[in-house]
Symmetry: C2
Subunit: 80 residues, 2 copies
C-alpha cells in the first residue's frame, strides 16, 4: 500500500494484478461486498488484469485507523 | 461523454450517478459483462454513488469507431 494525496486528501492505495478481466471483476465484487458489510466504501478502479483499491475516510477527508484495517482485510481477500 | 487525453491517449469518459453503492456496483457488473461479451474492456471507476466508464482502444492508443459504439451501448444499459 502506498499513501497518496488526492486534492489534499490522504488515501491508502494498492494495485492488485489478475490474469484477465473476469478475475479482476470477481475481486472487485469481493471487495465491494466487504465494503457494503462494513459500511465503509473505497474507490475501486477496474481494468483488464488489475484492480486499484483506494481507502480513505470521507468524513475526516483523510486516513482513519479503520482504513488501515480495511486495507489489511483487502489483502486477506486477495490472498484467498 | 467527454473526450479526455490520458498520457497522450484519447479516451471517451462519462460519469454515471446512482443513489447508493450497491446500485453503482450492479451497473459496474452490467457494463463489465457487456465488455466481456464484446471482448473490449473499459476502465471502470466505482465509488459510492457513481461509476466512471472510460473507453479507448489499447492497440491504437486512442479512439476507434468501436469505442463510440460501446459508449452508446453503455448509455442504453444505464437507461435500462
Amino acid at each position: 500500500w502506498r499513501i497518496q494525496q488526492q486534492e489534499g486528501v490522504k488515501q491508502l492505495a494498492r494495485n492488485f494484478k489478475f490474469k484477465n478481466f473476469i478475475e479482476a471483476l470477481a475481486f472487485t465484487n469481493t471487495v465491494a461486498n466487504l465494503a457494503e458489510e462494513e459500511g465503509h466504501h473505497p474507490k475501486l478502479v477496474l481494468e483488464w488484469g488489475s484492480v486499484e483499491v483506494v481507502w480513505w475516510t470521507h468524513k475526516i477527508k483523510g486516513l482513519h485507523k479503520n482504513d488501515f484495517v480495511m486495507a489489511a482485510k483487502t489483502d486477506k481477500l486477495y490472498e484467498g
